[in-house]
């Protein structure tokens, strides 16, 4: 036939298991033990309370600009839960839930937002990358890690996150295309939280879904309810199993919503309505899972209270730990190269002389606070 429809290998599906009212699709429900359900709930709650505390710390001037992930807890925790320690976790910057689950010391995350490289230093035992700031650039090293894993032949996968805005970057395209070409064990979760700072999803790309972008790469893609931790677990498990068995990468669109500010420097009232936010608040992943947890009899109001207290104490301890951290002001010279170059040795000596001579030791900042409050 001279003009005919081309049938594609892959189709794009949408997946939802636990809906906003707490109703569960029994057929699709992933099998979880009560312990697992408990710890998943704790993980979500911990991330939520962490975010809330960080917002307060920012207002008190105790950390810098902060970018919360309020409302997106399920979208990073579900996937993190669905992989093993041996797998790699490659975050963007909206995955505190996943990072804490993986074992990042909370104090380190706090130190990142407090302006310390130690916060970007993954503990030795974690196969984790730190927060990544240049949007979508992490896709590339995510793909590169997956490549390494494939070369190693060790069946691990690289779970990599990016935002809806990030899908417009060239880096997204190049990395995902290459992951498909090389058939890499990579799972890409796009946290489609409907906004990229002030740009709504529909102005970011004209495609109906983000998931269908997988078709451009001839790979698997699925749209999952990102506020439904069960759907996120199921979608990721499916993708991870496929990747482990040589089936290549998968693109998972997690449909979610950024309930809070982009960062504390942002004022969402400029670009979105309170009604829109309210509508999404009803789909809060934590509330939804809380119903599920209660239905399963894993927790009740009272035992949750205890959990809340425990979490509050954990967070306070992390705050204290982070606030007693003392950065070594000379350290940057040690980490530019393995061996300091002559130029750096000279500059280090110059810097040392400056400090000895009473130079600034880092506090307090000179810039006006009005400038600070406008920074992303």
């Amino acid at each position: 036939m001279p003009r005919k429809k081309i049938e594609l290998r892959n189709t794009i599906e949408s997946l939802s298991i636990l809906d906003a009212d707490g109703k569960v699709d029994k057929k699709l429900e992933p099998k979880l033990s009560n312990d697992e359900i408990l710890s998943l709930f704790r993980g979500m709650l911990l991330a939520r309370r962490y975010d809330e505390r960080m917002l307060r710390l920012q207002r008190q001037g105790r950390i810098g600009t902060y970018g919360p992930a309020l409302g997106q807890e399920a979208a990073s925790l579900g996937p993190a839960f669905a992989i093993t320690k041996d797998d790699w976790f490659v975050p963007s910057f909206r995955e505190p839930a996943g990072m804490l689950w993986r074992g990042w010391p909370m104090a380190r995350l706090m130190l990142w937002w407090g302006g310390n490289e130690i916060g970007a230093t993954p503990p030795e035992e974690l196969n984790d990358m730190p927060i990544c700031v240049p949007v979508s650039s992490q896709i590339q090293y995510g793909a590169g890690i997956a490549w390494g894993l494939k070369l190693d032949g060790n069946k691990s996968v690289a779970l990599t996150f990016v935002g809806d805005g990030g899908t417009s970057e060239g880096d997204f395209h190049e990395g995902v295309n290459c992951a498909a070409v090389f058939n890499l064990p990579m799972v890409i979760v796009v946290q489609n939280n409907q906004w990229a700072i002030s740009l709504p999803r529909r102005k970011q790309t004209a495609s109906e879904t983000i998931a269908q972008k997988a078709l451009a790469y001839g790979m698997n893609g699925i749209q999952a309810d990102g506020n439904d931790i069960l759907a996120m677990i199921a979608a990721t498990r499916e993708a991870v199993d496929r990747a482990r068995s040589g089936g290549g990468p998968t693109l998972i669109e997690a449909v979610t919503y950024r309930l809070g500010v982009h960062t504390t420097a942002d004022d969402p009232k400029k670009y979105r309505t309170e009604e829109e936010v309210e509508a999404w608040r009803c789909k809060d992943p934590l509330d939804r899972f809380w119903k599920y947890v209660q239905d399963k009899g894993v927790l009740n109001e009272k035992s949750r209270e205890a959990m809340e207290e425990e979490i509050a104490a954990e967070i306070s301890a992390a705050v204290e730990k982070s606030e007693t951290y003392q950065a070594d002001i000379m350290e940057p010279f040690d980490h530019c190269f393995e061996t300091m170059t002559p130029a750096l040795k000279r500059q280090r000596a110059e810097f040392e002389a400056y400090l000895l001579n009473g130079g600034s030791n880092g506090s307090p900042h000179a810039a006006s606070s009005s400038a600070i409050s406008q920074v992303h």
Partner: protein, 326 residues
């Protein structure tokens, strides 16, 4: 005359451009409804509409590259990179097309565009939001590189950059956006691109700087006068390309001593070019080696440690005293 911050002054220049030339168009991430993450484009979407002030997807290469196409189609784009730390994503488009289109087509097509980007440290921002890499653009033939230091020259230079028939990389010292106010005339004002300003006259030594570093430099100049009875001349370059070697050399021939100050890393940084030019033109007048007060050849530390790694009053004072005591 109104007392404006640099943020407001830049906003004024953008507004004037949109009013005066219907072919001018602003594009960038969050420049419309959000009015820019630093509010530099405040009120512009409201006044000029979505066609003239365009919120762009998160795609820096396309911001630059599509601006090239707009130029070819007869428009005058004013593009914003949200931070200079993300301008690199458009580097290849700048190198391959923005800086070359006029030459390649023997003037048939040109790029009368401005690429604005906030740069520099000192505002407690997260990683990638504080660097100074103006030298990489200054090295590319076919680009002008303009860097204002205060509200008044920011407005006049942005206006001049927009009117310029060639592409201008416009580096905005974000730490100065709201740090102080200056009188800015109500009437449109331009400054010639490529002319440095002697902002303080003196005879003992010349301090050359630009952008955000002008503040510690001027403070240092006062401290030097008050505490050390030293009378320094201060030059605000205002642009790295063209570089005003005439003004630099006139001053060096008078003072014989020089300190160059910038936040950018030292190696192959702007200070090196300034020194090479001084050697070429005025070596015999130099009475001491030129001192460089610059960023070290390190990535600027995360913000908790960044301040000591930046030029400050103390460093400028001691470098100046060093060239004086040579």
């Amino acid at each position: 005359m109104a007392m404006l911050t640099m943020a407001k002054a830049l906003n004024l220049a953008l507004k004037e451009a949109l009013q005066e030339d219907e072919k001018s168009i602003i594009l960038g991430q969050d420049v419309g409804y959000d009015e820019g993450v630093f509010r530099i484009t405040e009120g512009l979407l409201k006044e000029f509409g979505e066609q003239r002030v365009v919120d762009f997807p998160v795609a820096e290469s396309a911001i630059v590259g599509m601006a090239v196409g707009l130029c070819i189609a007869g428009y005058r784009p004013i593009a914003e990179m949200q931070f200079s730390g993300f301008g690199y994503h458009g580097f290849h488009q700048v190198e391959s097309h923005v800086s070359r289109l006029r030459n390649r087509t023997r003037g048939r097509f040109t790029c009368p565009m401005v690429i604005r980007m906030p740069y520099g440290g000192g505002i407690r921002a997260i990683e990638h939001h504080s660097e100074s890499r103006e030298a990489i653009w200054a090295h590319l033939p076919g680009l002008k590189v303009v860097i204002p230091s205060g509200p008044r020259n920011a407005r006049a230079l942005l206006r001049a950059s927009i009117l310029d028939p060639d592409p201008v990389m416009f580096y905005e010292p974000k730490a100065s956006y709201r740090a102080f106010r200056e009188e800015v005339p109500d009437e449109p004002e331009t400054m010639e691109i490529g002319k440095a300003q002697v902002v303080r006259e003196g005879n003992d030594a010349t301090i050359i700087s630009y952008g955000a570093s002008m503040r510690p430099v001027l403070e240092a100049a006062e401290e030097l006068e008050e505490d050390h009875n030293v009378d320094v001349e201060v030059i605000d370059l205002l642009s790295l390309v063209p570089l005003d070697r005439e003004t630099i050399n006139a001053s060096i021939r008078k003072t014989g001593r020089c300190v160059v100050v910038h936040e950018a890393p030292r190696h192959c940084g702007p200070a090196a070019e300034i020194i090479a030019g001084i050697v070429e033109d005025s070596m015999l007048y130099l009475e001491a080696p030129v001192e460089r007060v610059t960023g070290y050849d390190l990535v600027l530390p995360f913000f908790n440690n960044e301040l000591p790694y930046m030029p400050d009053v103390k460093k400028v004072v001691s470098a100046t005293r060093k060239v004086l005591s040579f």
